[in-house]
């Protein structure tokens, strides 16, 4: 029996990580079109999750479980999508800057992007400027995300942007910054492309910029 993508979307909404992963695998094995699996299964589910979250019918633990399911499905699907040249969300590299140990906010942002279909490389916390630059060279992400929760470490984000310029890779990647003391104004000042106030709105904003 062919995989029911509608059911896959339902399972994703319900946050059934293993089931979604298995079903994606099954769908691939059945020879279904990877683009269809993505659009009618995974993304269809995540769209509902997004709407329900905005309507306060779903909450963070549920949303991030669905995001995890999305990530699990994407792990199976990504190679097929790449092979078929289908359109999909790209890679995001994310980390907390040098001197800063705040972890959880950055992780939640990463999970949300996973839910949006991105491949997320989470570099960790307290990262040297060079680590960001090297990661951009290595992973060639569409998006580089930096988090800073301290006024004292915020300037490091500007340093990374300058280092990206010096390394000649600034134009290859959109830069997003966020964290409690960071503002839209500050983001502009240091030449970042996107300011993210919270995990959910960051995804919307990034998509807008990346799809423009």
């Amino acid at each position: 029996m062919a995989v029911d993508l509608g059911q896959m979307a339902e399972l994703l909404i319900a946050g059934k990580v293993d089931d979604v992963e298995k079903m994606t695998e099954q769908a691939i094995d059945d020879g279904m079109d990877p683009s269809d699996i993505l659009q009618k299964g995974l993304i269809a589910g995540m769209d509902v999750v997004g709407q329900r979250f905005k309507a306060c019918d779903m909450f963070i633990p549920e949303v991030l479980r669905s995001a995890k399911a999305m990530g699990a499905g994407m792990k199976q699907l990504r190679p097929k999508l790449v092979a078929s040249g289908a359109k999909m969300a790209g890679t995001m590299v994310i980390g907390t800057v040098k001197g800063d140990l705040h972890d959880i906010g950055k992780n939640l942002v990463g999970m949300m992007f996973e839910g949006a279909g991105f491949q997320v490389v989470n570099l960790g916390i307290d990262l040297d400027t060079q680590v960001f630059v090297d990661a951009v060279k290595e992973h060639k992400p569409e998006l580089l995300g930096m988090s800073a929760l301290l006024t004292t470490t915020m300037p490091k984000m500007g340093e990374v942007i300058n280092a990206l310029k010096e390394a000649g890779v600034r134009d290859q990647v959109k830069v997003m910054v966020g964290g409690a003391p960071v503002t839209e104004e500050f983001a502009k000042e240091i030449g970042a492309d996107i300011y993210g106030a919270n995990a959910a709105s960051s995804v919307d904003k990034a998509k807008e910029v990346l799809e423009a």
């Binding site: 963070i60 409690a180 003391p181």
Partner: protein
């Protein structure tokens, strides 16, 4: 306490004058405590500090894993627990030993390091500056219901992020003469702050007897101890500086989503520091802490206004009393973006529960915007709230004079009490509102129909215009400056 009633047979009855508020039974506390010990034996806690790892390794009472995970025996923890002082008295730079940290003595103070300040003149949120810290300090120096001062904001205009703590402490010293709780960049920063404080207390040993501040230090939940935090802790232990190691878990994100689970985890985090400081120097004045709250599941905000924060904090205080540890707790704070009704509601709830639970140092009073934004007005409003809370906490006296049988007899049916001596004597025991309005409609209108917020704003401005704290003498000022300048020089290279 026995109360003997007049004209009656003495009754063998215990009379409780203060409200009793306990959110955990002793059995529950034991369950949480034993679970925390189990976490330390089974899961352990990661320690990113070589000396600390060596202390654990050579103790024979801990196992250090390759991943720097330290697992600790109950035997070590229980020996350590017995070594901590049950009383620490702080002395302000005004020379008054005003904060006696001991069971059920409750003191209120600000929080620290808020990156933004709500500017009452422009109505905008802007970055906090040195002058804002001095202003907050002056207000706290003036307000009678504040007992200690944390910086409230962070000095955003300091020359170097690596030395901002010295400048911040200077601003605190300038504006406030009450005892402090200080945050520092690292061990070296704490050392400088301690040297600055010793200038006032008359040296290192005097500081031990009359500490002017408590050092604020935190682990990273879950179960992680970073290098700088441990560095500060070990320095505090070495010098006998009172310090707290205060976990800041958010239930559902960096701790289990159940309050009990969060309490277990944060107690395990505390007990690790209890064991470590004991190995470094038994008996150092360590204080238990905890900003235990939930992460809001709609916004991801670390909530400073959730009822769960108030409840979990009270539970933590119950645990601290059972362990004979002094408690650093949280209250008077809010998730509201500006000082509004929400701020008043949330501040009141957490102040009340913190007081009734008997926490010793209740901090973060005046935080708005979930610990991101500073409001001077919030300090002024909270002063009134704490006044009311303290009144509730005083409870009801039931001795002869207070039962007032004689007076009831004298006045008799249909009389009045207003002009009676008894009233003249006792009404002053009541809370006297300063900002709460109890006037009639006519009068209120005639006086400008001012809302609570108007009155709070006026009072804030009046204090800022009028209150000058006791100045720091020129000599001390010079020496303070030297410590700060030296630090700036060391770090400018």
């Amino acid at each position: 306490m026995k109360s003997v009633m007049p004209d009656m047979q003495p009754m063998n009855q215990t009379v409780q004058e203060t409200p009793v508020f306990q959110v955990l039974t002793e059995d529950q506390i034991e369950q949480i405590y034993f679970s925390a010990l189990e976490v330390l034996e089974r899961v352990g806690s990661r320690v990113h500090h070589d000396e600390a790892l060596e202390l654990f390794r050579s103790s024979g009472d801990a196992v250090v894993g390759d991943d720097k995970r330290v697992r600790v025996t109950t035997s070590l923890v229980e020996r350590a627990l017995k070594s901590y002082p049950r009383k620490i008295t702080l002395k302000g730079r005004n020379g008054v030993r005003s904060v006696a940290l001991q069971k059920d003595h409750v003191y209120f103070g600000t929080g620290s390091d808020l990156p933004f300040t709500y500017d009452r003149k422009t109505g905008e949120r802007r970055r906090t500056q040195y002058k804002d810290i001095v202003d907050a300090a002056r207000i706290v120096d003036y307000l009678p219901n504040f007992d200690f001062f944390m910086s409230h904001g962070i000095v955003g205009d300091a020359p170097n992020p690596l030395t901002y703590d010295r400048h911040q402490f200077m601003a605190m010293l300038e504006g406030c003469t009450k005892p402090y709780v200080v945050t520092s960049v690292d061990g070296e920063g704490l050392e400088d702050l301690w040297k600055m404080a010793c200038l006032f207390q008359g040296g290192e040993n005097e500081f031990r007897l009359n500490p002017m501040f408590v050092a604020y230090i935190e682990p990273i939940s879950p179960l992680t101890n970073d290098r700088t935090a441990v560095e500060k802790l070990l320095f505090a232990a070495e010098k006998g500086i009172p310090a707290m190691y205060t976990p800041c878990p958010s239930s559902g994100a960096t701790a289990p989503a159940t309050i009990a689970g969060m309490l277990v985890q944060s107690l395990a985090e505390t007990l690790l520091a209890i064991a470590l400081c004991y190995l470094k120097r038994p008996g150092m004045p360590l204080i238990m802490g905890g900003v235990t709250t939930v992460m809001d599941m709609r916004t991801t905000t670390y909530s400073y206004g959730a009822p769960e924060m108030a409840l979990a904090s009270a539970a933590n205080t119950d645990i601290s009393k059972w362990l004979n540890l002094i408690m650093f707790s949280t209250g008077g704070c809010s998730d509201a973006k500006v000082l509004d009704e929400q701020a008043a509601i949330e501040s009141t709830l957490s102040n009340l529960t913190a007081f009734l639970s008997g926490a010793n140092l209740v901090h973060d009073v005046g935080y708005i915007d979930s610990g991101v934004n500073a409001s001077l007005e919030s300090l002024v409003m909270n002063n009134e709230i704490i006044g009311m809370v303290r009144q509730v906490g005083k409870g009801i006296k039931t001795d002869e004079a207070h039962l007032a049988l004689k007076v009831i007899d004298e006045v008799g049916p249909g009389g009045e009490f207003v002009t009676h001596d008894h009233t003249y004597e006792h009404w002053k025991e009541w809370f006297l509102p300063k900002l709460m309005d109890r006037s009639d409609w006519e009068t209120w209108n005639a006086e400008g129909a001012k809302t609570m917020l108007d009155r709070v704003n006026d009072e804030t401005q009046r204090i800022l215009d009028e209150h000058e704290p006791q100045p720091i003498d020129d000599n001390t000022r010079k020496e303070l400056k030297k410590i700060i300048d030296d630090a700036d020089k060391r770090h400018s290279k």
